[in-house]
């Protein structure tokens, strides 16, 4: 996750010479009490959660004895922020505050450069400070202008003996942000103390998702900007994305139940950033609640689209599956159609699906999807670029309304009997199975015809025509072959694709859904 908790950000600050309150993070009331004991005196206990206004909901409290700390910690660790349980509290010394300052760094899209916001007014409320916020433009290499910074501090009411420390802290904000490639860093408040220190009392920091790869020191598991810690399915999706660089797959879970007065919870599968967002607006305007936001784009492999669909359909209680992107995609859309057809087919989809596949090769894409899904219990419809998002959103609403299907419950894919028994070879992230016994001359001919030159006829059965190494990355082509054979009524090819962690995630989701 690209957002850091307060205690993580503070650890970085101290590496760069900042003073922070003495303290440590606790995961149990007992740990919290021990930390308080070692600090001595009265302390502050703070929930670690990605939210503002912790004080308002009682997430920040002071305590005078370790016993009190344990009691507070017990209460705080039982809290939920949004849907997410609090798992950590930070126990810190109470610092003798003299003045409260504010300093933050953001990336200014208009200036295309970092900008520091600085308030030296010393007010305690945000309104007091807003009146006296200074903008310091930063040079991307060297940070804020020294003369401007010194001038501001010299003109402030801050005790002169602390001017050096405050200047250093502001420069430090730039140093920390540029070193760790932060999108934003906020120290609020930065305080001067009655005993002559300058201390970062609270800190919020977000790291650039795209730079996480070169910052192993941050220990960020999932580089995604979400408003909550990653869910099991988000972890699964993130691993899929990391393992396959063909196109992009983005997945965020938004709701686990339909909002009141909506037509139900649906799986949402967009294509392309803007197109996905526009389609999300269209389907929500039609009165649905989306369980998730998904985007597969940038010419994704069929395998990636398949894994995305499997992930979406691991959420319970969906009344339909809605897919739509920009509608005029530059990428070849038939690969997406193959991926969706495979997922819908083996999960034996029961809820209606509407997929807008407009763009290059849209006719072929729509034909593949509809034909391959014709035998399913669910109605699956494909649309083209001349079908507007509003039209298909309305069509989707009609299908959901007419459907007698029960809300979707995640299930394991139906795997053909010859898997485990037929001939097979490994590919990246899975295994291709061929039911050789069921292959008569005509079937073998069909398999070879749809195998992109990867399979050949040997003694009447299909075998690899290339080395296993050369076949390994051709998962999309083998998926296409599987679907074409299914369409031809000869389902003798099956591509077994791993989605690591999905079974476990479904188990948890299903369990949670059951208690709902």
């Amino acid at each position: 996750m690209a957002r850091l908790h307060e205690y993580q950000a503070k650890a970085l600050l101290t590496q760069h010479g900042f003073q922070v309150p003495q303290g440590a993070v606790a995961r149990t009331p007992r740990e919290a009490a021990q930390i308080a004991e070692s600090i001595g005196g009265s302390v502050i206990v703070k929930v670690q959660a990605w939210t503002t206004g912790r004080k308002a909901f009682g997430g920040v409290v002071s305590a005078d004895t370790p016993q009190q700390v344990a009691e507070h910690a017990e209460r705080l660790l039982a809290m939920k922020v949004g849907n997410f349980p609090v798992t950590e509290v930070l126990v810190e010394e109470r610092v003798p505050i003299d003045q409260e300052l504010f300093v933050s760094l953001a990336l200014d899209d208009a200036a295309r450069a970092p900008v520091i916001l600085l308030s030296l007014a010393g007010g305690s409320g945000i309104e007091d400070r807003a009146a006296d916020v200074h903008r310091l433009a930063c040079d991307p290499q060297t940070g804020p202008d020294d003369d401007q910074l010194r001038g501001l501090i010299a003109g402030s009411s801050i005790d002169k003996t602390l001017h050096g420390q405050v200047t250093q802290a502001v420069r430090g904000v730039f140093e920390v942000a540029s070193t760790h490639e932060a999108r934003s860093l906020e120290i609020n408040p930065l305080v001067t103390t009655t005993d002559g220190r300058v201390i970062a009392v609270d800190c919020r920091m977000t790291i650039d998702d795209y730079a996480v790869f070169r910052h192993p020191e941050l220990g960020i598991e999932i580089a995604r900007e979400l408003d909550h810690p990653p869910t099991l399915l988000e972890r699964v999706a993130y691993d899929v994305e990391q393992a396959d660089h063909r196109g992009t797959f983005y997945f965020a879970q938004l709701n686990t139940a339909a909002e009141p007065d909506t037509k139900g919870l649906i799986g949402f599968h967009g294509a392309g950033g803007g197109g996905s967002m526009m389609s999300m607006d269209a389907i929500m305007a039609e009165g649905f609640t989306i369980a998730n936001f998904t985007d597969t784009s940038g010419n994704p492999s069929a395998a990636k689209v398949y894994r995305a669909a499997r992930t979406i359909l691991s959420q319970p209680d969906l009344v339909g599956y809605f897919g739509s992107g920009s509608g005029v995609a530059s990428q070849e859309q038939f690969w997406s159609a193959y991926g969706l057809a495979k997922a819908f087919g083996e999960l034996e989809l029961t809820i209606p699906a509407v997929i807008r596949l407009g763009g290059n090769s849209e006719d072929r894409a729509v034909e593949i999807l509809q034909d391959a899904c014709a035998q399913l219990p669910a109605k699956v419809q494909g649309y083209r670029k001349d079908d507007t998002p509003r039209t298909i959103a309305q069509r989707f609403a009609e299908l959901v309304n007419d459907s007698n299907a029960k809300p979707w419950q995640p299930r394991a894919p139906r795997v053909p009997g010859f898997v485990g028994a037929g001939t097979s070879f490994a590919i990246t992230g899975g295994r291709v199975w061929i039911d050789s016994q069921a292959c008569d001359a005509e079937t073998t001919r069909l398999v070879v015809e749809h195998a992109y030159g990867l399979l050949k006829d040997e003694a009447g059965v299909p075998v690899l025509a290339v080395s296993e190494q050369d076949a390994a990355g051709k998962d999309s082509e083998f998926i296409a072959c599987e679907i074409e054979l299914r369409r031809a009524g000869k389902p003798v090819v099956y591509v077994e694709l791993d989605v690591p962690g999905l079974t476990e995630a479904v188990g948890c989701v299903a369990a949670a859904g059951g208690g709902n």
């Binding site: 040079d139 730079a211 392309g272 197109g275 530059s330 998002p389």
Partner: protein
């Protein structure tokens, strides 16, 4: 006329020997773009689609001057994200005045460094994470349309300029405008990231000064301040041509990124409501549903030609 690209501009491709570089060079050549050279370190001497490959931008530029009567005007970058900063700065330092950065996932501090170099050298860049730019009937940069024949079929020449924060929606907006008979001068996808080279206000100014552009259509999104900055230009009278806009992300909630790195509402800034308000107050037509864009654009054009006569 058109902005940023036409058939006369000399274009080079950085990363031309890679998978994307090769495929999109075919698109650009097939559409009519004047692609004169490519570069990939250590691949100098090869050819891609008949285009000579050099080791450095400097060499490619020298070849351009010698054989095509002038410098490389534009470089289109197709290198892996982590190498983009070095490639773009190499082009800028070699004197290329417009760099089009297609790759996704470029670290934002790298984009800031590129902007710094561009400013120092008087160059512009589009992207990162741009699908590209197309002046219908003239030339295309990047990968809009995917294939030359699709690009020819989907986008019609004319007098409306399109600026979009979404690649797919650039194509989509242009296509649906074409369906009601509206042709386009240039379509520019500024890129999906939070720190970009040319932004809405910059491109709008180019359209304002382009005699062949009568109206500007924008596909905006939540996050950042591009829409608000364009509105400020309209309010100040610097952009006077009619602006018709759709802003995506009405249903998006704060604090979650929606695909594009730039599409995130942070600290209450960059909201859908704020952008709609700023643009509406500045005199733009903002449609609530994407499907209403074409008709609103027809009306906006009719209103200006009415007031001019």
């Amino acid at each position: 006329m058109a902005i940023l690209i036409d058939e006369t501009k000399r274009v080079i491709v950085q990363g031309i020997t890679g998978r994307e570089g090769q495929a999109r060079t075919a698109l650009m050549l097939g559409y009519g773009t004047n692609v004169v050279a490519g570069c990939t370190p250590k691949k100098g001497g090869q050819e891609v689609q008949g285009v000579p490959v050099f080791n450095t931008v400097k060499e490619a530029d020298a070849y351009c001057r010698q054989n095509h009567d002038g410098p490389a005007d534009v470089s289109v970058v197709f290198v892996p994200a982590r190498l983009v900063k070095a490639a773009a700065i190499e082009a800028i330092e070699a004197g290329v005045k417009l760099v089009v950065i297609v790759p996704d996932r470029v670290p934002v501090w790298d984009a800031i460094q590129i902007a710094d170099a561009a400013k120092a050298h008087g160059a512009n860049f589009v992207g990162p994470n741009t699908l590209g730019i197309i002046s219908p009937g003239k030339a295309v940069l990047g990968m809009i349309g995917g294939r030359a024949e699709s690009a020819k079929a989907w986008f019609k020449p004319g007098n409306v300029g399109v600026i979009s924060r979404s690649g797919g929606m650039s194509s989509s907006t242009a296509y649906y405008l074409g369906q009601v008979g509206i042709g386009l001068s240039t379509i520019c996808h500024v890129g999906g990231d939070s720190v970009l080279g040319l932004r809405f206000p910059d491109v709008a100014l180019l359209f304002q000064d382009d005699p062949d552009t009568e109206a500007i259509v924008i596909f905006g999104e939540i996050g950042g301040s591009q829409e608000e900055d364009l509105a400020a230009l309209m309010k100040s009278g610097r952009v006077t041509k009619p602006v018709v806009a759709y802003i995506g992300g009405k249903a998006a909630k704060e604090g979650t990124r929606f695909s594009h790195a730039g599409a995130i509402i942070e600290g209450g800034k960059g909201t859908h409501a704020g952008k709609v308000k700023a643009l509406t107050e500045a005199g733009a037509t903002v449609v609530a549903s994407f499907g209403d864009l074409p008709d609103a654009t027809l009306k906006a054009i009719a209103a200006t030609s009415g007031s001019a006569s």
